[in-house]
Symmetry: C2
Subunit: 386 residues, 2 copies
Amino acid sequence: MLNYFSSDFKLGILGGGQLGKMMLYETRKLDIQTHVIDPNPEAPCRISCNYFEQGDLMDYETVLNFGRKVDVLTFEIEGVNVDALRKLKEEGIKTYPSAETLEKIQNKGVQKKFYLDHQIPTAGFEIFGSKEELIKAIEEGKRTFPFVWKSTTGGYDGKGVAVIKAKSDLEEIQDAECIAEEMIPFKNELAVIVARNPSGEVKTYPVVEMEFHPTANQVEYVICPARIDSEVAEKARNLAKKVSEAFKHVGLLAVEMFQTKEDDILVNEVAPRPHNSGHYSIEASYTNQFEQHIRAILDLPLGKTESKLGGIMVNLVGDENHEGEVVYENIEKIMSMKGVTPHIYGKKITRPFRKMGHVTIVNREISEARKIAEEVKNSIKVISKK
Amino acid sequence: MLNYFSSDFKLGILGGGQLGKMMLYETRKLDIQTHVIDPNPEAPCRISCNYFEQGDLMDYETVLNFGRKVDVLTFEIEGVNVDALRKLKEEGIKTYPSAETLEKIQNKGVQKKFYLDHQIPTAGFEIFGSKEELIKAIEEGKRTFPFVWKSTTGGYDGKGVAVIKAKSDLEEIQDAECIAEEMIPFKNELAVIVARNPSGEVKTYPVVEMEFHPTANQVEYVICPARIDSEVAEKARNLAKKVSEAFKHVGLLAVEMFQTKEDDILVNEVAPRPHNSGHYSIEASYTNQFEQHIRAILDLPLGKTESKLGGIMVNLVGDENHEGEVVYENIEKIMSMKGVTPHIYGKKITRPFRKMGHVTIVNREISEARKIAEEVKNSIKVISKK
């Protein structure tokens, strides 16, 4: 067992955004030294780490040189240079999650094939090398509408995904390698976070549920525990665990899933890091996801994943009509509500739909938390200075 | 309402120790800019604040110049220059807690007289200008044994306090202005943290209980809620509130109290800041004490003080036989226990009895938490490298 605490041990983090920032609360709590690199010199992680460096995460030499200065390397964003991770591993620097896992996840086509190879249920799909190939398949009648189009790489926060119901919907999509996926008429969108350490200890968090806005196709609330049958929840947790073990994943793996009308669970996609669907855990869980990620990659015992209370998370995104220096209107109003904790990521400029923070609502009763969450959502606005 | 979040607003903190460090978790969470000053260039707050300065907190010019750079000034240690705070207030810089409160608290004689003036029950006492005056009173038979000797200034963590049972016990004490206090045969030592904002909103946390080691006269566990009758708890919370209001205190006030054999509550002493007896709140409360302090001094609505779960805090102090580079022996063992969170303050060198960190244990059942707390205490050791 290495001595991580108040020692010379150094943890490197690729990426310095809000996920890294919340990870740093935990490294500070345990007094673990950190090095962070991000292309943005004003990244949220700039303070709170022991050493900050500006640099391009996709550049081989940059990542290699950064990684050589640390003992264990992790990331808070998938868009990093995998070859550099592989080289660092050869040089004896532990990189968790591994280059092998990341590589499979970075490309959605490879990820989907991995599920097939490992008997992991997922929506049916076809891979096309380009937009042209996809159009050809449609014209030849081999591909019928509707389907979900996904770019195999670079998709993030709704980008690189589109529902295609007719040929005209294809006009908007980019020319890239892509998959066409069967549309699943799902009852619920669920997620489970799995933690796994190098010794093979595995723990799953309770199932969370994404509640969508009744008309706009947008997640409004992430709710833990999901309001589903315990058998379905059990099935989802077991499936998530199976996915983590198939990847021999080390660190956190957020597994997004569909609950079909027949209560089957299909894996949608995964993220190999702390995830938006786990933010509730900071206030609601015995061990929050960021501490758990640190425990996992350092091969420490995993913490308990049970919840102290019910938790609901609401994202704070920039109002669509505002751009400029940010103001959190009515933040003092939501701070007077029971069990409400705002998290402000530290971005000075708001833009339409930019992720600026999130709010957690905890309560012994999830139905009560849900009511308060709605009040929060109706009160706070992320706008710009007049 | 000022715009504190991701804005140009600056909060200054005098002192950069562990209390400041834990306060910075909250300013980071809310993205409030902070300036910190501490005499130690390696202070735990050095990273995580926006601006760090090395300087003497008792020096008038240093504190004045530091304070002029911020919008609101607070402190995490009582030993700061009060005249500078007064001057800053005149110049329009908000200083919370106020110079007036701090001044009363810095001197234990003044503090005790304040309680008398405000009908706040406290143990009987006499003030002596010097050790010589005290000895004279004893020799003249005006002062009888036993009593508790306390230096009026500079006492901290058991320093400046002694139980005097015979004349020979006086040899050890320093020559200073002092008080001789009646010895209270108490049933329990209790504490209540009160938060009050400039608008006059007041909230008290539940009563905590200090459980002492059965033989060594040392606090082993801080337990929330205290295992006392609800009427006694109610009385303690009301008394703590009365103390905060008497001081017109802004910020947190930790009120330490005795529960006598007759279930009377006497105020022992207060600390005008986040306090060791409130550390449990990070994991156990809806609003932890550090966030509450920030809310209070910025005149934001106070957060709920209720507990999510029962909480117990164990201090991590340096083993008496070790001095040198610190090692937290068996930390991985306690991290595998349910609801256990270690906090490492970031001091590289351990010394006998030095406060190096603390551990919180949360559980739905306080009796279960108490069992786990004992396992924690019996497992972890703060030692030095071999």
